[in-house]
């Protein structure tokens, strides 16, 4: 299977100017690649830099050094050096991000929140909402909530709305940021199925999954992030 994503010598640190300019090293010399149809899971304890790596791939955190290369057809894009509008385009059609935290928008209904990424890719609103409803059904979000804005939903309901939003569209690369955290067993199983369907469609995935059972079911490979630990500046 072709390589979809390649991180080459990626490094990241935070400079905390409000704390006297102290530098917090995060990761250094990160190097791995992910193939189409493969799910690579980042392993390591909290604070090892797993989330920072995902956020750099999504262009949400800046990458201080190295390259984050994404293959789109014959083209290779370096996320680490891409213009903002190129990153926005990548997020529209190439890289998806599934997280548990929903950023609610006033007055937008749950089904529209879920349908939005598909509409952005050019699917008709009608078809996108239909697909949104079927995903919300699969994730056991009660039908009476679909037309309401999710701001007042419970934490678990918001989480499932956001998972539906993350899975609805096709992206060649999908980033999974603890999508199953605090889900019940039934919904966890749904997410595992969704991930397997993405694999069959050839999607390359990078995930953070603390849940041991889920990890065993969907990880093709574990990448130990502690191997990329940055040296603490003296």
């Amino acid at each position: 299977m072709p390589v979809r994503l390649y991180l080459n010598n990626v490094g990241k640190s935070f400079t905390m100017h409000l704390q006297g300019g102290s530098v917090i090293p995060v990761v250094d010399k990160v190097e791995f690649s992910v193939n189409a149809g493969e799910c690579a899971v980042l392993g390591g304890p909290s604070g090892a830099g797993k989330s920072s790596i995902l956020k750099m791939i999504y262009g949400n955190y800046r990458c201080d050094q190295g390259q984050i290369l994404v293959t789109i057809g014959d083209e290779i894009i370096n996320v680490a050096g891409a213009e903002p509008r190129r990153i926005l385009k990548l997020r529209e059609d190439t890289i998806g991000y599934v997280s548990q935290f929903l950023r609610t928008i006033p007055r937008v209904s749950a089904e529209d929140v879920v349908a939005e990424p598909l509409v952005a890719q050019g699917t008709s609103e009608e078809e996108a909402v239909e697909k949104a409803r079927s995903l919300l059904t699969r994730l056991n979000v009660p039908e009476r909530l679909w037309t309401l804005p999710p701001a007042t939903f419970s934490g678990g309901e918001q989480q499932r709305v956001n998972i539906a939003r993350g899975f609805i569209a096709h992206y060649p690369i999908l980033l999974l940021d603890e999508p199953t955290a605090s889900l019940d067993a039934a919904n966890r199983a749904v997410v595992v199925r969704l991930v397997q369907e993405k694999k069959e469609q050839g999607v390359a995935m990078v995930g953070i999954l603390h849940d041991q059972d889920v990890r065993e079911e969907i990880a093709d490979r574990i990448i130990d992030v502690t191997g990329f630990a940055a040296e603490v500046a003296a």
Partner: protein
């Protein structure tokens, strides 16, 4: 379909500088704005945000630098070399300007319908029935009831006035809209409604927007890109969520860490 496919920028800003006597209003600002892109300019009071916005919108001539705009015929023109007639036509048709204080952008002593219709008349529409029905449709889009069309904006609440101002600006289908703190001074529930409305209209119409705000939540919700200004300089710029989630400059970090969490 996608907002990010246009291959030519709509606005190109080159080293724009504005002095007030010896004091710097804004210094050496350069950026490109693309079709469909929303750019937020953030920073504290006195940072030069509004000076820059006024320079961009030809309301205040820069001391140095150049601003080029792609006209509807595709040609790139230096804004400060346009004739007065060309500049006025641009401001009345292809551009909008949404003021913080709606009274600055509306005519307070004529009806809501006339406020919207006036811009249509300015571009040559003369058919009363068409103007009225277009005005009515736009009042609907900004969620103002038809039965208020003959009332003048003095009888409107702050939120309604702001929505009316937006309708007045958008009725000529502009391609570029400048906004100066459009949600400032409104209470939060009114703000949320206005923001949602703006977000939808901007996306539906594919508008390019330059919005000045000191509210980072507004910037996060509406903008693709952010420029942080301080003492007249752009100190940090980039993708909105990148600047807000991973701010690099000391002042940007201070701004982001000063947001109250609800």
């Amino acid at each position: 379909m996608s907002l990010f496919q246009a291959d030519e920028p709509l606005l190109q800003v080159h080293n724009v500088t504005r002095y007030y006597g010896d004091r710097v209003g804004c210094a050496d600002v350069s950026f490109d704005l693309w079709p469909g892109e929303v750019l937020a300019i953030v920073g504290e009071s006195g940072s030069g945000k509004t000076t820059l916005l006024n320079c961009l919108s030809t309301r205040l001539a820069p001391t140095a630098g150049a601003i080029e705009y792609r006209m509807r015929d595709g040609s790139m023109r230096n804004l400060y070399q346009l004739s007065e007639a060309e500049r006025r036509l641009l401001m009345r048709t292809d551009w909008g300007f949404v003021h913080q204080n709606a009274a600055d952008g509306l005519r307070m002593n004529v009806s809501a319908g006339a406020n919207v219709g006036e811009r249509l008349m300015a571009v040559g529409d003369r058919h009363y029935g068409n103007i009225r029905s277009t005005a009515d449709a736009w009042l609907g889009r900004v969620e103002i009831d038809s039965d208020r069309i003959d009332d003048d904006p003095r009888s409107f609440s702050g939120g309604m006035r702001q929505r009316l101002q937006i309708a007045r600006n958008l009725v000529t289908r502009p391609r570029l809209v400048f906004m100066d703190e459009p949600t400032g001074g409104l209470d939060v529930s009114v703000q949320a409604r206005l923001l949602d409305l703006l977000r939808r209209l901007v996306a539906d119409l594919g508008l390019s927007v330059v919005i000045v705000t000191h509210d980072l939540a507004v910037a996060r919700l509406l903008s693709h890109r952010i420029m942080v200004m301080r003492h007249g300089n752009v100190i940090e710029a980039g993708l909105t969520d990148q600047v807000l989630d991973d701010p690099r400059e000391p002042y940007s970090q201070l701004l982001v860490s000063s947001i109250l969490q609800v």
